[in-house]
Amino acid sequence: MEFKNLKLSKKTTFIVWVLIIAFVIAAPTILPVFRLNLLGRYLSLAIVALGVDLIWGFTGLLSLGQGIFFALGGYCAAMYLQITSSSEFPNNIPEFFGLYGVDNLPFFWEPFRSPIFSLFAIWVIPALVAGMLGFLVFRNRIKGVYFSILTQASLLVFFNFFNGQQKLINGTNGLKTDVTQLFGQMVGSESMQRMFFWVTAFLVIAAWFFAKWVVKGRFGNILIGIRDDEPRVRFTGYNPVIFKTIIFSIAGGLAGISGALYTVQSGIVSPQFMTVPFSIEMVIWVAVGGRGTLLGAILGAVFINYAKSLVSEALPASWMFIQGGLFILVVTALPEGVLGWIQGDGPRNLLQRFGLKRKIETYPSLEINTRDGNNE
């Protein structure tokens, strides 16, 4: 699979960046609070989509369990917020414990009193969990479809676990964050939300550059090598297990950050983040945007979610049909996603079909061969 990069001149790139930054700074004043909040949430989902793109688009590992790491990040953030604003409740512990008659803080809550620990926990804990899970799975050369199924199963394990533990983390109800305090302000308040929007926008850009840096150079080449022909990478003397584990934990960390940002902006974290459909949705954002193109992942996440909220407002029942249709359409007709299609020969082929552009002479046999090679 080869993507021809869109060649933009330096000037255009500069203008695009200025426009983006201007929009980010101005967005809170242009958009109504409700829309701003939605946009912020979708931007935070873009970060998890970047992670999915790293492991799926570049390394060829289709994980259906990113929801685990997403929710873990969310829980870390929510636990910190709950515990810092629990001083007015009995026993100095978050309110919900009272409902189940728990008097002492469970031990694993204790470290979340420290803001620095929590700030690290948000991405380190999901990355560690991902690394461990990934190492166990990759070590046995479980791959392809089996990997997907196993990640899905682990997702269910975590979902059932979090769902069942009322006394430890409030089970199904989840942890609310919008009425908690941060820096002496309500997290759900308007000014705080504006802050979070800026933080999210900044982190999306940062994550994008980070991901670009990861896939550049030797490391990125090995990842792509693993995707295209893993035995060959192994026979050349590299150990794919290490690289897969590293990239999987990077994706886990990104998912954690994303989950934390999503949690503070949506006001609650609950086991619903770990349902199977949500994790599969993440994959479809990337698939629609274009896997193997980082920008595609971001755009896919934002636009699909935006479309989802618009369609659900207008015709609640039809979103499932549209989403299902989208899955099938993307997989059968646009396997490289919208951005991949644009960067590839898509538009030219379309124009050719209508006779608008002259057909370029190529070696037919070569073209057919590359097609076959892609099929795997």
Partner: protein, 373 residues
């Protein structure tokens, strides 16, 4: 045991589809749901005065109907979507997930009566051309016959849809609520075997399972098509070279796999209420069974599904404690911690993941010397 049986039938279908064609069918759960709804619709239709005397037989009828309905939907799925995606399992996974979303929403927002009509027209449209005499089929104008048979099918579908919706009022409105299938009188109550009481419905489920396992084994091992299917499983290219129509084999396999999902759906409907989401509860369990049992191996599937079913029961209901009353305290505490249905699933999945550490290819792996498949 009953859960194990349901898993077995469903996983059997999945194992066939997955093992043979390398297709991950996430819509399998929704095909089960279709089977369950078929049971429900059959039950209501059998309440119509004309069929009332035969009401007690509806379960038996619905098994066959469910097989046909799910099978036909499966074949349609294969012909439209999956055919394009052979050789790329991850893509089929996404596409079938899309299909499953559509099926779920379809059940929610389309009245069941018209759904039935649609399914009937599909059945007729797909099979009517095959019933024409060979002479007509070979003539040049056959595509017109095909076309007209689809028109005929559509008309029949609309007619039956209207007929059902006018005669069974419950089916004429769309609803997302769960529905209940009531077992006929002869299936209620309990039977005593070896001093323990078993509900009759569960026994029935186990019998259905046994019959389908035996039937499918016989089919695969004794019939000509079964042999072709096995041949394609072992080496697709070679079978193709030897003149086996792999395309037909694919359609057939997918149809059978989906049909088995439908039969599993009948069993599900006997266990509890039926809703649009019923399939999702089973699908991951099915995949676990297939992975645990080893791909393309029926014996492994049988062992794995009963293993999982029994373990879930043992852990979930805390039966271990009653079997071994005076176990050490820390152990019994752990067991009590896991003694709910959801925690039992956590435990089972964790055990499976640990098990796969030691035997990554399942209980009964296929032997071979390939570097990668």
């Amino acid at each position: 045991m009953a859960i194990g049986s349901v898993l077995l039938v469903a996983a059997l279908g999945l194992a066939i589809v997955f093992g043979l064609m390398g297709v991950i069918n996430l819509a399998h759960g929704e095909l089960m749901m279709l089977g369950a709804y078929t049971t429900y619709v059959t039950q209501l239709i059998f309440k119509v005065p004309l069929l009332k005397p035969y009401y007690n037989a509806y379960v038996i009828v619905s098994i066959f109907l469910a097989f046909i309905v799910s099978g036909v939907v499966g074949i349609l799925l294969e012909k439209t979507v999956i055919r394009k995606l052979y050789g790329s399992p991850l893509e089929t996974l996404l596409a079938t997930w899309g299909v499953s979303l559509i099926l779920q929403q379809f059940v929610r927002s389309v009245p069941l009566a018209y759904g039935t009509g649609l399914v009937i027209s599909l059945i007729i449209g797909l099979f009517l051309p095959a019933t024409f005499p060979l002479k007509i089929r070979e003539s040049i104008n056959f595509k017109y016959f095909k076309f007209s048979s689809w028109i005929f099918a559509a008309l029949t579908g609309v007619l039956t849809g209207n007929l059902i919706s006018s005669s069974v009022s419950k089916l004429s409105r769309a609803s997302a609520r769960n529905v209940d299938v009531t077992a006929p009188a002869w299936m209620r109550g309990q039977v005593e075997i070896l001093g323990t009481a078993f509900p009759k419905t569960r026994l029935m489920i186990i019998i259905i399972t046994l019959i389908s396992v035996i039937a499918i084994t016989l089919f695969l091992n004794q019939s000509a098509w079964g042999m072709r299917i096995r041949a394609v499983t072992q080496n697709r290219e070679m079978s193709d070279c030897l003149g086996i129509s792999t395309e037909k084999v694919d359609v057939l396999t997918f149809g059978i796999g989906s049909g088995l999902a439908g039969v599993a759906g009948v069993a599900v409907s006997l266990l509890g209420s039926v809703g649009p989401n019923v399939g999702g509860n089973y699908i991951v369990g099915c995949f676990m069974v297939v992975v645990l049992g080893g791909v393309g191996n029926l014996l492994g599937t049988v062992f794995a599904s009963f293993g999982i079913g029994i373990m879930t029961d043992l852990i979930g209901a805390g039966r271990l404690l009653s079997i071994w009353p005076n176990m050490p305290l820390p152990l019994s505490n752990t067991i009590n911690f896991f003694a709910t249905t959801s925690m039992a699933r956590v435990m089972i999945f964790a055990l499976i993941v640990i098990f796969l550490q030691f035997k990554p290819t399942g209980l009964f792996p296929q032997k071979g010397r390939m570097v990668e498949s």
